[in-house]
């Protein structure tokens, strides 16, 4: 069933207006009042999203609001319209809800920043782009806002653009994303050339007409875009560097917007992926590998935000694994719960940074529990949810992904996921213990760490409640509220029967694994029975592999960036300066030389000119008389 409404536009329009007004008038007039507009605007967007979700979820109804026709060229036309089905409704709740909390948090966090108005212009713009991305009804509009999200991430990661590292991180995020987007654009073009339409509905109807080769190519190309945007192997390198942006931005990028876009897109295009078993297998394999690799890297980092960042990569890997094994609903469920605990972890580490005067190294923290109890408890909830400790949010969704992988024909990948789950618990509680437990490794008399002000504390508490409770939306497994809500979207997907024994077994296994990780972290960083340094020493090359991010950055630097750099330098020096500039300057020089010769003729003496005229006349008339006329013949 489908219903046309006229209020859906409020969801994207409110943040857009706030962004535009703050951008135009922020610098001279609004300045430190920028949040007066941005926060209520995103709040309004959130409220409208709740209304939309209420109207859609569980009622098998589709909301549609046509806005205008963007392109009309013969048979081909691209309408811009907002469509909300169950998947979009869930995404809207996540995006606007978490964004709203991040906005509130930013009031306190960015308080003293001179670019305050600019921050509150880009942040709503980010929300606008993401909301339009999930509301799009065809691939072209999706792509436009896919790029807009990339642009906003560039602007926000490079928010402190005076800092060289921030500017470079922003560039890196943009360029790496562009590599994925290139594949994504090719996929969309291939879709268009083979089906002649870009509309979701029409495409999904027509998928069976495609040959299996074409559909595999399309699916893999689309997934390339998701690899870039959702930070999968091997394009995840931009995401840890994105930590250079202000912490609320990290929370926004990692939890609500941006990285979820890739997962959302694959889920949205699931009829295409379902038609290609190879593509699904690739998605699952890359997801599992990403989950494992990123988890091992996170275990070796000392920068608290980088730990959380690699944890995001790892959790996104779980989501991709779920997508690949056909566990569509668990993937979105995990996206949903992950948004809460990851935003919480980022905002929590932002609070720590705030208290520690921008200190990020966990080796110079410790014992903060004493001074920051609220931050501590919310952070612990987030960490436990991330690690999949019963009964917090992450447990339910991650467990379902592992069960889905097991029954979806990839038990090996499920085992990889289990191993990654061990590392997840290990790195999460390592961060907790290093930051909050033990003796302070800084001078408390100098720093005076303290809990953050109310605007930052309230979002933390709300997110902690969310991280603790949202898991219950998926209880009982396979038959919870979220499953019923999302079922209509994934109607065509094959459904695997899951026995109770398997569910319980997997739950027990993942709990055991998580507790093992927790126990290891406790032994290493609280009781001290395991010496991390000795373990690192023992593991030698393996430890160095993880600590250096599996050398992805190194390899890219050496085998991609540097050859490209050399090629660009050669093109600049030889082709641009040598050939192109040489040709232009050379022709100018030839003209100048010729002019030097000819200017001798300009004597300025009238007599010379008159003589030239006379001689010319004589010559012309003479030639005429000699050859043209019959006078002398």
């Amino acid at each position: 069933m489908e219903r046309t409404v006229d209020w859906l536009v409020v969801i994207p329009l409110a943040p857009l207006l706030a962004a535009v007004i703050n951008f135009l008038f922020g610098k001279w007039w609004i300045r430190h009042r920028a949040h007066w507009l941005a926060v209520p605007a995103v709040g309004l967007s959130f409220l409208t999203s709740i209304v939309a979700a209420w109207a859609v979820l569980g009622r098998d109804e589709l909301l549609r609001q046509p806005l205008y026709t963007w392109i009309r060229a013969g048979e081909f036309h691209v309408p811009v319209e907002l469509v909300a089905d169950e998947l979009t409704a869930v995404m809207l709740l996540v995006v606007t809800g978490v964004s709203f909390l991040v906005h509130v948090y930013s009031i306190g966090y960015m308080h003293h920043d001179p670019g305050y108005y600019r921050f509150f212009a880009w942040l709503p713009l980010f929300v606008f782009s993401m909301v339009m991305l999930v509301l799009a009804s065809n691939f072209l509009v999706l792509f436009v806002f896919w790029e807009a999200v990339g642009l906003c991430s560039y602007l926000l990661i490079g928010f402190w653009f005076r800092r060289r590292s921030a500017a470079e991180a922003a560039k890196k995020a943009f360029v790496v994303n562009r590599i994925g987007d290139f594949g994504f654009a090719l996929g969309i073009m291939l879709l268009f050339t083979s089906l002649g339409t870009l509309d979701y509905h029409a495409i999904f109807e027509a998928v069976p007409q495609l040959s299996s080769g074409t559909v595999t190519a399309i699916a893999l190309l689309l997934f390339t875009g998701a690899i870039g945007k959702s930070a999968q192997l091997p394009l995840f390198v931009w995401l840890p560097d994105a930590m250079e942006g202000p912490t609320p931005v990290s929370a926004l990028i990692h939890a609500a917007t941006m990285v979820t876009a890739g997962i959302f897109m694959v889920a949205r295009a699931h009829p295409i992926f379902l038609a290609s078993p190879i593509a699904l297998w690739v998605v699952a394999a890359i997801g599992a590998l990403t989950a494992f690799v990123a988890a091992t890297i996170a275990t070796t980092q000392f920068d608290i935000k980088r730990v959380v960042a690699y944890s995001t990569v790892s959790q996104l890997g779980y989501m991709a694994l779920a997508l690949g094994v056909g566990a569509w609903i668990p993937a979105i469920f995990h996206l949903f719960t992950h948004a809460f605990f990851k935003a919480l972890l980022f905002l929590g580490s932002g609070a720590v940074m705030h208290a520690m005067h921008d200190e990020l190294d966990m080796r110079r923290m410790g014992g903060l529990k004493r001074w920051m109890p609220l931050t501590y408890w919310t952070f612990v909830i987030g960490a436990a949810a991330n690690a999949g400790i019963v009964p917090l949010a992450g447990f339910w969704s991650k467990d379902e992904i592992l069960v889905g992988a097991w029954v979806g024909g990839a038990p090996l990948l499920a085992l990889v996921g289990l191993v990654a789950a061990f590392f997840t618990a290990l790195y999460m509680f390592r961060a907790v213990f290093l930051t909050f437990h033990g003796q302070p490794r800084f001078d408390p008399h100098e720093l005076h760490p303290h809990d953050p002000p109310a605007t930052m504390a309230v979002p933390l508490v709300i997110l902690a409640i969310g991280a603790a409770l949202t898991g219950f939306l998926g209880v009982p497994p396979e038959a919870g509220w979220i499953h019923h809500a999302l079922e209509p979207v994934f109607e065509g997907a094959t459904h695997h029967e899951v026995t109770l024994g398997l569910t319980l077994g997997m739950a027990a296994a993942s709990t055991l694994v998580a507790l093992a990780g927790l126990w290891t972290a406790h032994a290493a960083y609280v009781r001290g029975t395991i010496s991390p340094a000795a373990v690192a020493e023992r593991l030698g090359p393996l430890y160095r592999l993880a600590a250096n991010g599996w050398y992805f950055d190194f390899v890219y630097q050496r085998y991609v960036v540097r050859p490209l750099d050399a090629a660009a330098t050669w093109l600049w020096r030889t082709v641009d300066v040598g050939i192109i500039d040489g040709a232009v300057n050379g022709s100018a020089r030839i003209v100048a030389l010729t002019a030097q010769l000819w200017r001798r003729l300009q004597t300025g003496l009238v007599a010379n000119y008159a003589l030239a005229i006379a001689l010319g006349t004589v010559l012309l008339v003479g030639a005429y008389l000699a050859f043209g006329s019959t006078l002398f013949r």
């Binding site: 004597t603 300025g604 009238v606 006379a614």
Partner: protein, 102 residues
């Protein structure tokens, strides 16, 4: 010398024209050059009249009248330029008037 013919007119005309042209090319006083140009114009008039006489047609004479009228107008403009030149540069020597070159 038997009888007057077009050839005589043309010879006179050519002689006058060459005198005028040599004057234009060699003289440096603007006024003299100007007079030489008038001489060249009148050389053309002579040849026109000559053809009119030879062919018993009035067209040549009418042409000559037109040339005289145009030459009068041209003399006005030319002399005006010479006046302006003398006021501005205080010279009528054509070799000294070469600002356009620089």
């Amino acid at each position: 010398m038997s009888e007057l013919s077009a050839t005589h007119f043309l010879l006179l005309s050519a002689a006058l024209f060459i005198i005028g042209m040599v004057g234009v090319l060699t003289r440096r006083n603007v006024l003299v050059i100007f007079m030489c140009i008038e001489l060249m114009l009148n050389a053309v008039n002579v040849s026109l009249i000559g053809f009119a006489w030879e062919l018993h047609q009035l067209t040549g004479q009418v042409f000559a009248l037109f040339v005289i009228a145009i030459a009068a107008a041209e003399a006005v403009v030319g002399l005006g330029i010479v006046m302006a030149l003398t006021r501005r540069a205080d010279t009528v020597d054509i070799d000294e008037l070469r600002q356009l070159r620089e």
